[in-house]
Amino acid sequence: MRNISSVLGKLAKTMSVGLMLLFAVTMSRAQDAANGAALFKANACQSCHAIGKKLTGPDLAGLAERREEAWIIKWIHNPQGMVDSGDPIAVELKGQYPTMMASYANLSEDDIRDIIAYVGAEEVKLAEKAVTGDAGAAGGGASNDANTLMIVGLIAIVVLAVVVIVVLNRVIRSLEKVIAANQAAIEAAQAKNEVYQESSVAKFAKAFVQNKKLVGFAVLGLVAFLGVLGWNTMWNVGVHTGYQPVQPIKFSHQIHAGVNQIECQYCHGGAYKSKNASIPSANVCMNCHNTVTASDHYDGAVSPEIAKIYKAVDFNPETKEYGNNPKPIQWVRIHNLPDFAYFNHSQHVTVAGVECQTCHGPIENMEEVYQYSPLTMKWCVDCHRETEVDVNNAYYDQLIEAHEKLKKGEKMTAAMIGGLECGKCHY
């Protein structure tokens, strides 16, 4: 027994030291990486480069391993110069990527180091994501929260099993001890002068079991713990924050809304005038994707994701002709409100002027969209309590009392003009 615990102890020490080291390393990098991230965006690096993916420029993953720091600095400062000077790597790159990179002489050497650090950090994140992503993918895209529930359940079962094993061990040991004690008593009778020494752990256990108050407290504690756990689980039933189903097309809001800065309204026009934000019909996609095929990333072939749009509208990119067999794209709905709750986008977007991001989160950075907000009634109500009404809207002139208050310079929230009443959302 002691052997095992000492081995475990050593292991724990090593691990904690390792973890601390890892933490220290990450921390020291993080400072640089943050600046690097800002620079990466500010200089629009992402328009040609990605980490883990080939865009117009090469994939930056493994950059630090692939190239020396000095070479990178030199290249960023003057890529064309390096090609001209006949640097073999530069020439090779020129051959692989026809679009020549611009020179970024404004970046200091430290800046470039920060960017390299950022790229490194992103790589680590990517690797981590790949691991968890695999686990998630096994469960299918249907329901993430079911997976977490399952994992939590599994862990709980494992913990329970360990507890059972430990308890059983204890029982066996106590029984052994009883036998041993009996034997010892016989032996003691035989050799009265011998001194019996009991182990401290067993002593403690014995004392613990004998102390009924302590047992009571322990049971109480356990009940309280399970109660809290259960309570929290119950509260989160039906709350799908983070829900990120697999979509039929790997559509990236990051590329469209983030990199290319396309207005939300361009595709989700309904959000400004209707109840539904509405998913754009495929003909809206075709406005751009008629020509944008991303074929430069796929060796001249149409991107397989864009090809799915062509299939939906039955479009032949070669002849640029439409067929007669369109099939709608079946997206998986991410934000699901129950039937009894009425939500109108235009009320929030056009009338109240709420940013899309307020509810949908950093959508412009989402590779794939996930549910950002809990969409619970508490979440709605909290916002209605705080959001002020747009005083310049002539509609509110009618609200006599509201008007009076506004004249006095008081705040007027949605809640104060009936924004919390049942019938505003439930009918």
């Binding site: 039933v237 026009g269 509405s278 019909s281 495929a282 709608p328 709905r333 009392e401 049942c422």
Partner: protein, 1003 residues
């Protein structure tokens, strides 16, 4: 001031029968077995411990398992190519027309969900009748055919076309007739399509026949004026209206348009100007129009002609033989004649009879009164009924003689609605090829060689012309959902014309209707109608041989006079039977009897007493050699010695909802003087057994509380506050609760009891708008109807000695014959009380008040204690006993995904176990407010309209914001006649009612 009148909803209430008293005590019709469980034996029963644990364990396990369900994946499927005009979530409105009325069809994501009047149209531009409001359901009817049929088997259109064309060619080469039998067709394009067929096959004839015929009027006008038309009536120009058995506000001709016009002389605006028309009704059965009359005299069907003869004599001073002998009627006619003569030029007489002679005499009376021109318009005549009984009889004769090669039936179902179905069947057997355009295999279509299913008006291009010079378009709002083709297109194909129907209709309009108007086809698609007629009609003088007519009337009257006289009538909802499969209409209570899902024999209670009939009794009615067993309704107001039965019921092949509902009454009819007539000598005998009708009249009783205020016009003129009995005028009130502040809007409603005719189209419109489920006959019997809005109909008795008003007097009196009753209709819906009793008893705050004066109902919060319903003094809350819209036990219409497309997507479907009630169309209020907010402007009066308000042709329901002093509702509620129902209990309702004013004789 309390009224001393006694109002009662049904005889049970008047006589306080033990059953009524018992049922009015309980909250539910059927006792809940609380006592059985909570008695001593029940409580001391030992539940075995093991069983209890087993149940507990199983329950826990089952719930856990059920809860382990994965969150379902919802798909969001956008359009591939979105139509430019569609934005998901925003309704589109299309101008179209239904039965000649210009309407706006509201569609959501391409599916029609409701129908409202086109407010910019002429004629009927406010409100629709119940059938129009309900017609949207017919589109989603699963009982319709999904494919064309030949010989009862599904075929494709090519096969059908080949079969039909072969038959047509055969008939043409044999020189046999090709006949199209239809109901009245006023659509210019349909007529043009028929003309196309006639062009190719010259032996084609078109026979128009209506199940409920108006041939008598047409023939009478042909004789009197040389114009074979049904005139249109302008009741707004009539100060005195005398109706002899014409239900002109209900099913007679254009009831809804008449209502709109008639009420203009009787509603609160007219009363404000000190003007009210007088309406005198003579009839046998109590019709909806009769309930609205100022004076109503019960007469037998055989006395209708006599009454008119007396009236003619009194007006013209002549003395034709055969005047009425009935004392009460005589007095009334003398008074009525005086009134009519005094109002010459603004007085009119209408009669419901289909007898040429009766109508000729009416023409003579109206001519003497100078009614032709401003009131009766023969120039802009109605084209809604053009059927000729004689033409159809001729067709039957020709067919029986084997002269007809091909017969097509368009909107015509004579096997069901002709009084001699055997004659029709025999005739059809002699026709080589028969085809129906019916959308379902109905009684006629199922016996024919082929069916070419027609589209509904929501799927088709077309037009109609309900009045001379007035044209409306019909435009599709959805692609045909089944493999159907509109009849006009079929006719064109068979005529060898391959023009697309859209092109055909457009060309027909551009060449014939729009020519010279300076308007384009696209303008019409937007406005929905065009009017080319004159402002008013010109004056005419009737040329009638009164002596000959009188002799004929007297002969006919003798033939139907007897101990019992039968009168058939058209119900306001099912009409001639074509709407029989519409569940909304089947469940709409009759305006007078409040019976749903059945027709019945209406008898005077005294007659029933003589026959030994009580409640739930049955009789055998026999007339013209046809007899049928019918449940009895003891109908106050029914003339003694008469029995009334509604036609349109007893269909056998109409679909799930309408099959075998009631009994067919058409075979009771007979042909007299060449026209089909709905009166006959009958015998009525008691039949064995009982039958419980699903009658809502005593449901939700207000326990005799004083909730109706009624006055006479004379009293009103002296004091507009007369009889309004406002409690607050004479009492000081104390509030238990704080005053509710409504700082923004405060939504209120005003209901004009003088305008409400009780027709019930508001109920249907409410059902359609708010996804109110139909529950079926059995559930209605259990008082479980879900209607958010009901119309309570109250009777008061009058006797020869004067009004019997006080309760004690009624108890003492025994000599009244139930013929003389007056009626008040009171729409009753959630009053949105400021101090709502329902709110204070809800244990979970599922019903709470809003800052806009509405009583909100959060269904997801409700867990069904029903305390609120118990505490509601107005009895307007409804409990969902089942998932009516998705439970196979209540499969009236909605239990399939297709029909569920009729549901309004802005309103939740309530599930089992929750309460619901009028929400004051909160979805419309919210949408109206949102529109104003988006446009950054104030909400204007009239931006938000309730579904019931929109459906009311009489403008009896006025809705708006009382915080806006200029709104119509504010003005209406400042009226002296306004009172609040049960004001004395100080629940502070937000719906004001206006006293009923009756323009009676003695005043």
């Amino acid at each position: 001031m309390d009224s001393n009148k006694k109002y009662w909803k049904g005889l049970e209430e008047l006589q306080q029968t033990p059953a009524f008293v018992e049922s009015s005590k309980g909250e539910f019709a059927e006792p809940i077995p609380v006592e059985d469980v909570l008695n001593e034996a029940g409580l001391s029963t030992k539940t075995p411990r093991r069983d209890f644990l087993k149940a507990l364990g199983f329950g826990l396990g089952a719930v856990t398992l059920a809860a382990c369900n994965r969150t379902p994946v919802h798909k969001a499927v956008p359009y591939v190519i979105k139509p430019e005009e569609v934005t998901p979530g925003i309704p589109n409105f299309y101008a179209s027309s239904f039965n000649g009325q210009s309407v706006l069809v509201r569609t959501r994501e391409g599916r029609p969900i409701s129908i409202a009047a086109n407010p910019n149209s002429i004629g009927l531009n406010q409100g629709t009748d119940a059938t129009a409001a309900a017609s949207v359901l017919d589109l989603y009817d699963m009982s319709k055919l999904q494919n064309p049929q030949v010989g009862g088997k599904d075929v494709d259109w090519t096969k059908l076309d080949a079969t039909v064309i072969a038959a047509l060619d055969k008939a043409a080469s044999a020189g046999k007739q090709i006949t199209i039998v239809s109901n009245s067709v006023n659509s210019p394009s349909t007529l043009a399509a028929i003309a196309k067929l006639a062009e190719k096959y010259p032996t084609t004839t078109h026979v128009q026949v209506d199940a409920v015929s108006y041939s008598g009027i047409i023939e009478a006008n042909r004789a009197s004026f040389g114009k074979a038309v049904v005139p249109s009536y302008h009741f707004q120009n009539a100060n005195v209206v005398v109706s002899v058995a014409a239900d002109f506000l209900g099913s007679w001709l254009a009831g809804e348009e008449h209502t709109q016009d008639y009420i203009k002389n009787r509603d609160y605006k007219s009363l404000k100007n000190g003007k009210m028309s007088r309406h005198i009704q003579f009839e046998s059965g109590l019709s909806m129009t009769g309930t609205n009359a100022d004076v109503r005299i019960a007469i037998k069907p055989s006395e209708e002609g006599a009454a008119l003869i007396s009236l003619y004599n009194a007006i013209t001073g002549q003395s034709l033989a055969g005047g009425i002998t009935n004392k009460k009627a005589q007095t009334a006619i003398t008074l009525a004649a005086k009134e009519l003569t005094n109002a010459r030029g603004a007085a009119v007489v209408v009669a419901g009879s289909n007898d040429v002679n009766v109508q000729s005499l009416v023409n003579a009376v109206n001519s003497a009164l100078g009614a032709y021109g401003s009131i009766i318009d023969l120039d802009n005549y109605s084209k809604q009924y053009q059927g000729s009984d004689a033409a159809f009889q001729q067709f039957l004769a020709n067919a029986t003689a084997g002269q007809v090669g091909v017969a097509f039936f368009l909107n015509s179902n004579p096997v069901y609605d002709y009084f001699k179905p055997a004659d029709v069947q025999n005739a059809l057997a002699k026709v080589d090829f028969t085809l129906s355009f019916a959308d379902r295999a109905d009684e006629t279509a199922s016996e024919l060689n082929a069916i070419a299913p027609n589209c509904t008006f929501l799927e088709a291009w077309g037009d109609s012309s309900s009045k001379e010079g007035y044209y409306t378009v019909v435009q599709p709002t959805i692609n045909p959902v089944f493999n159907t083709r509109q009849a006009e297109q079929s006719l064109l194909v068979w005529a060898g014309d391959n023009t697309n129907i859209y092109e055909f209709v457009r060309q027909n309009w551009e060449n014939n209707i729009l020519a010279g108007t300076g308007k384009a086809w696209k303008d019409v698609l937007q406005t929905g109608f065009i009017y080319k007629g004159s402002e008013t009609g010109s004056s005419y003088t009737a040329n009638v041989d009164v002596n000959a007519v009188t002799t004929a009337i007297n002969t006919a009257a003798k033939a139907i006079a007897g101990d019992f006289e039968l009168k058939l009538y058209e119900s306001t909802s099912i009409r001639d039977g074509r709407y029989a499969n519409n569940a909304y209409l089947q469940e709409l209570p009759d305006p007078v009897s409040k019976v749903t899902w059945d027709n019945y024999a209406a008898l005077n209670p005294r007659d029933a007493e003589k026959l030994g009939l009580g409640e739930n009794g049955k009789v055998t009615v026999e007339a013209n050699g046809y007899s049928v067993e019918l449940p009895v309704v003891l109908q106050p107001g029914q003339a003694l010695g008469t029995v009334s039965v509604a036609v349109g019921y007893g269909r056998t092949k109409v679909g799930k909802a309408g099959n075998n509902v009631g009994k067919n009454a058409y075979p009771f009819a007979q042909v007299v003087n060449g026209t089909v007539q709905f009166a006959a000598k009958a015998s009525v005998t008691k039949a064995g057994g009982t039958y419980e009708l699903a009658q809502t009249q005593t449901h939700h009783t207000i326990e005799g509380r004083n909730i109706i205020r009624e006055t006479t016009f004379a009293k009103y003129l002296k004091d507009p506050n007369s009889e309004s009995g406002r409690f607050a005028d004479s009492h000081k009130t104390y509030d238990l609760w704080n005053k509710f502040e409504a700082p923004g809007h405060k939504w209120v409603m005003a209901i004009d009891l003088n305008a409400c005719t009780g027709c019930g189209s508001c109920i249907v419109a409410c059902n359609v708008e708010n996804n109110v489920p139909v529950v079926g006959r059995d559930e209605v019997r259990r008082r479980r109807e879900m209607h958010w809005l009901r119309i309570d109909r109250y009777y008061t008795l009058e006797t020869a000695e004067g009004k019997l008003t006080k309760e004690k007097e009624i108890a003492k009196a025994t000599d009244y014959d139930y013929e003389d009753v007056t009626v008040v209709h009171q729409p009753m819906l959630c009053q949105h009380c400021d101090h709502a009793p329902c709110e204070t008893v809800c244990p979970v705050l599922a019903t709470v008040h809003s800052s806009e004066g509405l009583n909100h109902m959060a269904y997801n919060r409700c867990f069904g204690t029903r305390y609120c319903a118990n505490n509601c003094p107005y009895k307007v809350r409804r409990f969902n006993w089942f998932n009516y819209w998705n439970d196979s036990r209540f499969d009236n219409y909605l239990n399939n995904e297709f029909t569920q497309l009729v549901l309004n997507p802005d309103v939740t479907t309530r599930s089992r176990g929750v309460m619901e009630k009028c929400s004051m169309c909160i979805q419309r209020i919210q949408a109206g407010k949102l529109e104003a907010k988006i446009e950054k402007r104030k909400l204007r009066d009239g931006d938000v309209k309730m579904a019931c308000q929109e459906a009311c042709s009489a403008n009896a329901i006025i809705f708006g914001d009382i915080n806006d002093p200029e709104s119509e509702v504010s003005k209406a509620l400042r009226n002296e006649r306004v009172y609040y129902v049960l004001e004395e209990i100080n629940v502070q309702p937000n719906i004001g009612y206006m006293t009923k004013v009756r323009n009676t004789f003695e005043a």
